[in-house]
């Protein structure tokens, strides 16, 4: 087995164990048993339990960032639709990678000040992206003017909570409806007879 594959094998196994037992309750033993490798092999590919976990978190960041595409106003596709597609892709990744999802949203917090910082930075980046998207929307007259930093955070939280709540077991089929519901809410609000 080549080195990359072996690393992947361990990563995969670890994701399952971390998702199931949480970071603190999983022992290195759990991981190597799940991966079917020897103890030493683990440390051949990862510096430490914490190092492996970080790799998992980074992997999820990468996957998410890869599907969040900037809104392109010059595109044929309307901005609102682009936003919708972004959201769809985010939900899709979150659903496909349920285990990593759980790790990101539940286990990655409070391990370590450094990792906490890394998490903050990621969410900060996402919030910034949303902020810029809002700005674009404002500029083209599609969205009204709001306190962007606050609203950007709020939207991120709204998505995070939905993913946390439904991202693990909702059948993927419903994702489109979910996204439409959320978008409709975000865009039009709740007040009747608008």
């Amino acid at each position: 087995m080549d080195a990359e594959a072996r690393k992947e094998q361990i990563l995969e196994a670890a994701a399952g164990v971390f998702a199931g037992r949480g970071y603190h309750r999983t022992r290195v033993s759990d991981i190597i048993i799940a991966a079917g490798v020897a103890r030493g092999t683990f440390y051949l590919y990862f510096e430490s339990k914490r190092g492996l976990f970080e790799a998992l978190v980074e992997r999820m960041f990468t996957k998410l960032q890869a599907v969040i595409l900037p809104i392109d106003v010059s595109s044929q596709v309307p901005p609102a639709e682009q936003l919708r597609e972004n959201l769809l892709r985010v939900f899709s990744v979150m659903y496909r990678e349920r285990e990593l999802n759980r790790i990101l949203l539940h286990e990655a917090v409070g391990i370590d000040p450094e990792l906490d910082e890394r998490l903050s930075a990621f969410y900060e980046a996402v919030a910034r992206f949303l902020d810029e998207s809002l700005e674009t929307g404002e500029r083209i007259g599609f969205l009204r003017v709001v306190d962007r930093p606050i609203i950007a955070r709020a939207i991120m939280g709204l998505v995070k909570e939905t993913v946390r709540d439904r991202g693990l077991d909702a059948p993927e089929l419903d994702t489109a409806a979910l996204v439409d519901t959320l978008l409709d809410f975000v865009l039009r609000g709740l007040v009747a007879g608008a």
Copy 2:
């Protein structure tokens, strides 16, 4: 010092330490040093580190639940205003109890399956409350008809994230503006020229 006061003293000290170092990184030693009590005394008042932490979490639940009042349609106060006052009180509690806030939002996750369950139940209850509030709003024709469970969760997430982001250091004075921004967003949405 009477028993209740002693218990309070430990609880207070523990909240500070947990907030600062996180659950897993705080040792019982940290707590007893901060509280200025002997090791044995700790176990006179709490069953375990985990038990003390749970007490802290429950305390926060209680405080929050105490300020989230059901919308009373027969009241003089308009429902929207009642909602606003609920939110204001939530932010106020969260700001006043920054440490417990941090514990609830950051540290309480992934300690323990049982505690995770307890957290879920609490958030479930809050979501249910929001769901019911939405229903009330629908019924009186103030709000439009939406997929309530989803929207309830989304609103909760939106509030949680805002608190997480700004709840720790934002001066309390801004709270009203924050709440108004959020409510305006939730009610009217983002689309321009509605």
Copy 3:
């Protein structure tokens, strides 16, 4: 049992184990079994295995330094006799503390650069003492002029090797004869018919 006594108990037990198995081959388990204390207790009194060992080495340094008294030329006792008494006391300590002796002479080397440095410094100090003693001897005309730093080292080595060789099992009774033999050698040399 009071703290000092408990510490002593562990120190004593550890000295025996280190002397018997050497530093690297003794596990903390060996020490706590020999001392009859729990694992945690060990770390209550010592920072680490290495820390305990260092304490043992320091203790030996202290004991040795306590019996090596500066030559006092104004004393009633002749300098040669003072030197002889110093040596007698050194041998006596080494014999009484056979275990620590073995630790110092055999086990303490190569553990750690820092500890190596500590050892060097001690021997350096002893060599310096001998150098000064030689100087005193020269000044009062008792000894001839030699390359003192070299001779001081040589004398120290001569004593160390004798202790290493005979210090462990020679009955204490012979010590006086041993010291006399050594002194006679050092003072008069080996050439016949001087």
Copy 4:
């Protein structure tokens, strides 16, 4: 590269690493990196880390024994001069093989009961040689009668300590002076006006 050369290459590299880090702190990894061979290759030429180390120690024994020549009373060269030449050769080997020197004098102790025994045996042999030399000296009336076993040990210790202290960095040129100083001390002692 032929087998013998490959073995030599590893031995050489290992000597450097052992001398620098000490036996316990050098890992097989250090040695194979220094030697530029693969891990498996190491075990093709040596049974174990300990086995390689032993080979190094034996090599030093051999080198030393090769330069310590028995005193030949029937030779043209006076016995004292033969002794001096022995010493000169010992210092010379020790200086040329600084690394092995360090291994022998500092690292080889306490590795292993068996190796400790081997060391003792070697020093025992050297002491015996000195004892016999003293006896020869006595017989021909050059030396006075002393407690030979003790004095033999003492002389060995005196040389060992000098080598330990100055053998690593003293320029070889000074060796002759050093040996003369030592011999003068051993033969004539320190007392003034003999």
